[in-house]
Symmetry: C2
Subunit: 270 residues, 2 copies
């Protein structure tokens, strides 16, 4: 995403974090102006840690989104060959996305979970064993690792939607409007919590969008953590939070007894 954003955020310093939660925490606290986190993958679905953080912690809005192809590479310390590899380390989703490759090329070699592909690359550097990490070209460069094999993901149709997030207090509606004007088409994300749980409650909410011809591009349920069977819903819609049709839809949803929280109006920049 750094390339895509370079023109919008000139001169920004980039900080790497080990975990998604660290990125969100740092951004919410104001220590960083923006954070970049994955929110959805075309094969694995939602990135739950991101959705749950947005729902349960709050204070962040989405400022932009970009869908990027996922490329996984096998990284090892310089001089270490494939035959020497004693273990493979990466984020569980990266390991899962290279399952076929690992089965064919490294059968029986133990796999270790890391909190991120960056953390995996770092572990390769400091582990006494000859490990290989599944990670990015950027990680190879940062940690001085060699690429043993490139593009090792099993499915070509592998894309991840990343979002740029900002602290709500620092990323005003005025800035959202300006950012959307500069980039054209825009989307809005919202979190909907149904009121008293009754048959058809979700249907009533969707009816409000349909009546105003607001098109939903995505709806995703997540547990509220109040117990099995209790959900809230993330929706992505075409349009902007301040569009009259969206305002009327949100008013209608409030009338059904459900709550709607604005998670940001933002441009799609890739």
């Amino acid at each position: 995403m750094s390339g895509v954003l370079a023109s919008d955020l000139p001169g920004e310093e980039w900080v790497a974090c080990d975990t998604i939660a660290d990125v969100l925490d740092l951004t919410a606290s104001g220590a960083t102006a923006f954070g970049v986190v994955p929110i959805e993958n075309s094969l694995e679905g939602s990135v739950n840690i991101t959705l749950d953080w947005l729902a349960h912690e709050g204070g962040l809005v989405i400022a932009a989104e970009a869908a990027l192809p996922v490329s996984h590479h096998l990284l090892a310390r310089p001089g270490v060959s494939g035959e020497q590899i004693e273990g493979i380390v990466s984020h569980p989703q990266a390991l899962a996305q290279c399952r076929g490759y690992l089965r064919n090329h490294f059968p029986g070699v133990p796999q270790y979970a890391a909190e991120s592909t960056a953390a995996a690359a770092e572990r390769v550097i400091r582990d006494p064993e000859d490990l290989a990490a599944i990670g990015t070209r950027l990680a190879a460069r940062i940690y001085g690792l060699e690429i043993l094999a490139s593009e090792i993901q099993d499915e070509a149709n592998n894309r991840t939607r990343f979002v740029l997030v900002a602290a709500q207090s620092r990323w005003t509606e005025e800035q959202q409007r300006e950012f959307c004007r500069r980039h054209g088409a825009s989307k809005t994300s919202a979190l909907i919590t149904l009121g008293e749980d009754h048959p058809g409650a979700l249907y009533e909410v969707l009816a409000c969008f349909a009546r105003e011809r607001v098109n939903l591009t995505r709806i995703e349920s997540r547990p509220t953590r109040r117990g099995l069977g209790s959900y809230h819903f993330f929706v992505d819609m075409e349009g902007q939070w301040w569009d009259p049709a969206v305002i009327r839809a949100v008013e209608g949803i409030h009338e059904t007894g459900a709550a709607v929280r604005d998670l940001g109006t933002y441009p799609v920049i890739a």
Copy 2:
């Protein structure tokens, strides 16, 4: 679930598998009459491997469901004390659900991912290091491990819905009807794939259920793997696949251009 099912499946032999996919594969192939897999957790949400298997592999129906409390225990080889533990191994979801406990009691101790809590317990037996596994009392008994600490999960409100699955060819509608009669209340699960993607397509589908007063207890979207923005939906409804209202709702959904696949009508037995 074994206790719950003992009266329904007397004399069945129980087979342990390392992964959810193994359970589903064995059951679909007819090697086992039934499989028991988790489908949803009150904190972590859907178990995607189960949903995706049901969607993409096919051939299985849900025969029963049971929601059980989740209890995690810390297991080590007999004679190994907490101070000696060099690493903690478990399924990533179990590690996540004990994050607070591990941070307080085992700060800085490395964590390793296993494919299941059973596989974690097995690793404790054979690993040269003194590892501890997060797992069940049953695993402690099977693998001869000692319980160093019990009930170490961070949140009390932690329940998992398990489903009993059977091969579609072996678990007929007649058997489903008989099983539901014996246990009372029943639910039906279905997979809905929208037709040509157009604004309001999901809303039209939900309208069919609402019109027939069929109550949906859950709706969950998963990627179809055809690319970002392409989803199908798992729905759970009150009622039975052969109820007139459900039949009319399904007919209506077909008329919208969407496809509906029956994933089984089954009793809720716990």
